[in-house]
């Protein structure tokens, strides 16, 4: 029986079962191969880019199922999922410790016992330990009484609040461990509660557990148990942006220790990680202390991989809900529009010999047909029709490398299709529904979401960075639209690269755009061919807002710092300059078609 509900609903991976995860998860580790390998890794990406799902998949219950293993021992590693919610560890009371009393030591203790509790909860919930043999259960009991007891004692917990269980059942022993560490966490919070309204230091008499003197040795001993995997333990810290600065520095200190042969730290962030300095102010760096992956950068530069991933994800979801499995048929193009574009393509192919710009007949067709079609809709004689953002390929491009930005609109489309349908099963999403939802999403992203971020000032010159960012986005989007409807040789442009060095103010605005997902950052060879320069790519989610063609390879233009300043202060004037052919320069001659080739896609189902 198929699951009810929307096949494109976005679920919290933490709450879904191992079999669901294994069903739905598309193996992306060839794109992010450092994640399942030994070593510390930072995984950056906006919410919904698939970080939590990757982490969930690494957990032992999923690994056992996916690799068809029966025992933990045969797994290459043991991964503990540790989600960090906003106010789990970042309690306001902790600010009372800063510059007063044991700020680092107490925060480290809090973090260490928090993680320890999750480790044992993972063994209880994700490791299928109920089926362990008596000998293995006994080894765990000995671990409790021996190494763990000693470590707790050394940390200052001379008498645990709960006495050791008498029976040797692993479930009882695990629960004892969980309770001990839950209690240790609670006692920290109780201490903090007493600090709430104090302005002077308060004596702390509880135990103190650090990484090197407690957590690491404990995990090493755990790893040595006969039922545990031979490989390292991975601590998967999800949303580490939710740590306060001190906790972030402490975590960096752990990364600095380079203990990944025993314990590897896999840390995910939403591009808002507070610092890469340690508690002793040293910097951790890639690649020697950790490897670093920015999901959106990977997919921004490797569109064919991303397309394949989304296709597979959608196929699995449709299959799970017993719906037609072909994504391109489920999300068909607007047939009338595609026919018109094919006609334009045919005319380009026909006249290539006389007036062609590209090396091959199809080059011009690919480059210009769709932009021409969009141009034809925006002239003074435009009719009531407008360009439809529909079809699986377009939707994939529009999601801009983040799976959530495909699934959420798809979920809305499905709901709208159900609402307007006759009650029967949904076999496809009409292109008009696709277009409406996508345009709505773009509008919301550019207008409504932005309004929430804006500062209260209104004057651009003195405005907060958000207002400047909004101006910049309008300037770039408008400029790219002007280029699209021009007769330039490269009309599909989504990026700018700097021909000089952007100053601090400009960089601030651009970085803000990256942080909130309006822009991606990359690098490209500079104009002179002597090195690399910064490149910023407009999110394709904004394509419908600015009437841009989101499909296929898109080019970039070189721009100066002063031009971008102009864009920030006077976006309309910037767009006018672009119309006049000023301010932007083409990159050096190269075969654009040697770069990312567009994914092959079938035509969608014909509409009635």
């Amino acid at each position: 029986m198929s699951p009810k509900g929307n096949p494109f609903s976005v679920h919290t991976p933490e709450d879904i079962t191992a079999s669901e995860v294994v069903d739905l998860f598309v193996d992306v580790f060839s794109d992010f191969y450092n994640v399942p390998n030994q070593g510390n890794t930072f995984l950056h990406g906006p919410r919904g880019s698939g970080k939590s799902m990757m982490f969930r998949y690494l957990e032992p219950d999923c690994q056992l199922l996916a690799s068809k293993q029966e025992t933990l021992r045969n797994l290459p590693f043991y991964a503990v999922y540790i989600p960090i919610k906003n106010t789990d560890l970042k309690l306001t009371e902790l600010e009372r410790l800063e510059n007063k009393h044991a700020n680092v030591v107490l925060n480290e203790h809090f973090l260490a016992v928090f993680i320890a509790a999750r480790v044992f909860a993972s063994l209880r919930d994700r490791a299928n330990v109920e089926n362990l043999s008596t000998e293995h259960a006994q080894s765990f009991a000995l671990f409790l009484a021996g190494p763990l007891g000693k470590l707790l004692n050394k940390a200052g917990l001379t008498k645990p609040p709960r006495s050791l269980p008498k029976d040797r059942k692993i479930s009882t022993n695990l629960q004892w461990c969980i309770d001990v560490f839950d209690d240790l966490c609670s006692s920290v919070v109780n201490y903090l509660r007493r600090l709430s309204f104090r302005r002077t230091a308060l004596t702390y008499t509880g135990p103190l557990c650090g990484y090197l003197d407690f957590l690491l040795p404990m995990l090493k001993e755990l790893r040595a148990l006969p039922f545990m995997p031979r490989g390292p333990i991975y601590l998967l810290l999800d949303d580490a942006d939710n740590l306060n600065e001190t906790q972030t520095r402490i975590l960096n200190s752990w990364v600095f220790c380079r203990t990944s042969a025993d314990v590897s730290l896999k840390i995910s962030t939403q591009l808002n990680y507070k610092t890469f300095r340690t508690a002793t102010d040293q910097r951790i760096d890639s690649p020697h202390d950790y490897t670093e992956i920015d999901i959106s950068t990977v997919y921004a530069s490797s569109r064919s991989h991303y397309y394949g991933r989304v296709e597979e994800i959608v196929r699995r979801r449709l299959k799970r809900h017993q719906l037609p499995e072909n994504p391109t048929e489920f999300f068909p193009v607007y047939a009338k529009q595609e026919r018109a574009i094919r006609e334009i393509e045919a005319s380009y192919i026909a006249k290539w010999r006389e007036t062609g710009r590209g090396n091959r007949p199809r080059d011009d067709a690919y480059r210009y047909a769709r932009p021409d079609f969009i141009t034809s809709l925006s002239g003074p004689k435009k009719g009531s029709s407008k360009y439809r953002y529909a079809g699986f390929e377009q939707l994939v491009y529009l999601s801009s490398g983040v799976i959530r930005y495909f699934l959420e609109p798809a979920s809305r489309m499905y709901a709208d299709a159900q609402a307007t349908g006759d009650g029967g099963p949904i076999t496809h999403i009409d292109s008009s529904i696709q277009d409406t939802v996508i345009r709505d999403e773009a509008e919301r992203f550019m207008v409504a979401e932005f309004q929430k971020l804006s500062d209260e000032e209104a004057e651009p010159r003195h405005a907060g960075r958000f207002l400047q960012l909004r101006n910049l986005l309008h300037a770039l989007g408008g400029a790219f639209h002007e280029i699209l409807i021009s007769d330039k040789s490269e009309r599909r442009v989504f990026s700018i690269a700097f021909s000089d060095v952007p100053d601090r103010d400009v960089l601030h605005v651009l970085k803000l755009g990256v942080q909130y997902g309006y822009l991606h950052e990359a690098s490209i060879g500079n104009k002179e061919g002597t090195g690399r320069t910064r490149m910023f790519v407009l999110s394709r989610r904004l394509a419908p807002f600015f009437m841009l063609d989101p499909t296929g390879f898109a080019g970039y233009k070189f721009v100066t710092n002063s031009a971008i300043k102009e864009a920030i202060l006077r976006p309309k004037a910037f767009i006018n300059s672009i119309s006049n052919g000023e301010l932007l320069e083409d990159p050096p001659q190269m075969s654009l078609f040697e770069q990312d080739a567009p994914p092959k896609s079938d035509n969608g189902a014909e509409e009635a």
Binding site: H101, L106, K154, G156, T203, P207, L208, L216, T280
Partner: protein
């Protein structure tokens, strides 16, 4: 109230601390002078005398003195280091440093190897004597611990110390740890030995060399103004000819002196990272006087040398791989070099 190094004038830090009043500790309510005195008294009576015994029982080694006399020497050396013109310590820092000095070697009771990190294994009355606050106790223990040993294989134990205020007090943990470590290094002189045991050949073979070494180090003089430390050794003809065993090799007393002064030089270099600019020691001046016999009045000759940072650092034998060992096994156990890079690019490019 702050201790000004230049005003110590031959007194020790603990003599200074014992004259402090509770108001000298600012907002802190505890009487730290009383606490220190209780700690000192307990350790002097019940612990320090047993440290060497514990090591002997556990490891079969006859340690040179790790008892009250050694602690007093470390305090004296620390006081001499602190006596520089620019050095100051708060009353609280003085307490922390002295408490750490009192504790630093007591882990030897449980065996010599790794004794630095065994503090936490010692329970009982000690816990109560260090007060109630866990962070304060941890600070003292940590400073005591980093006088040697390693942290997960990394010998830079002081470098990883976190500077965290405790009970509203700023404590320069690395600075204090540097003082303790270097003072301990300089406290290996002739006062540590049991002269009687040496004279009567009562010291077992593995430990004899260390006792003879200590016996030969006659004085340690810290010249703050000159930014130097003078080490004076004395060897007799008979002493020079005596052979010792160490880690399977045979060597003489002078070899040990050369080795130990080099170690002291490295310790100096290391600790100065955390002591500069308030305490600045740039070199060790070593003088070894050779006598014909114990009862000779004149020297046969003297040997002198200076250990200081000089010249240009020498390129290590294995080049970058000595400095960054992880590069020697960059990919699949092979070292990073131009050829490996090309191979890796080819493989990644597909």
């Amino acid at each position: 109230m702050k201790l000004k190094g230049k005003e110590l004038k031959g007194k020790t830090i603990d003599e200074w601390l014992k004259k402090r009043q509770p108001k000298d500790f600012g907002d802190l309510k505890t009487n730290y002078v009383t606490r220190y005195q209780s700690l000192e008294a307990f350790l002097k009576k019940d612990v320090h005398p047993l440290v060497s015994l514990g090591a002997a029982v556990k490891d079969g080694i006859f340690l040179n003195d790790h008892g009250p006399a050694h602690v007093a020497t470390v305090i004296k050396r620390a006081s001499e280091l602190v006596s520089s013109d620019d050095c100051t310590l708060t009353s609280y820092e003085a307490y922390i440093l002295l408490a750490a000095i009192q504790l630093h070697d007591i882990g030897n009771i449980l065996g010599r190897s790794g004794h630095e990190s065994r503090l936490r294994d010692l329970e009982g009355q000690l816990e109560g004597l260090l007060g109630d606050d866990s962070a304060e106790k941890r600070l003292i223990r940590t400073i005591a611990q980093v006088h040697g040993g390693s942290n997960n294989g990394d010998k830079d134990t002081i470098g990883h110390l976190v500077e965290d205020p405790v009970l509203n007090q700023i404590v320069r943990a690395k600075f204090l740890a540097g003082i303790l470590r270097f003072a301990d290094e300089l406290a290996d002189d002739s006062q540590r030995i049991s002269a009687f045991a040496i004279q009567n050949d009562a010291i077992p073979e593995p430990s004899r060399l260390f006792h003879k070494y200590s016996a030969s180090l006659q004085s340690v003089y810290i010249d703050s103004k000159g930014r130097a430390i003078d080490l004076h050794y004395e060897i007799t003809g008979a002493g020079a000819q005596e052979e010792f065993s160490k880690q399977g090799s045979k060597l003489y007393l002078l070899d040990e002196i050369l080795h130990r002064t080099l170690k002291m030089h490295y310790e100096r270099t290391y600790c100065m990272r955390f002591l500069r600019p308030t305490i600045q020691i740039d070199c060790l001046n070593v003088k070894i006087k050779v006598f014909k016999a114990n009862n000779s009045t004149g020297t046969l000759f003297s040997i002198g040398y200076r250990l200081e940072d000089k010249g240009y650092p020498t390129m290590p034998e294995k080049g970058i791989y000595d400095v960054c060992p992880e590069l020697s096994t960059w990919r699949n156990g092979k070292p990073l070099n131009g050829t490996m890079l090309i191979e890796e690019i080819k493989e990644r490019d597909g």
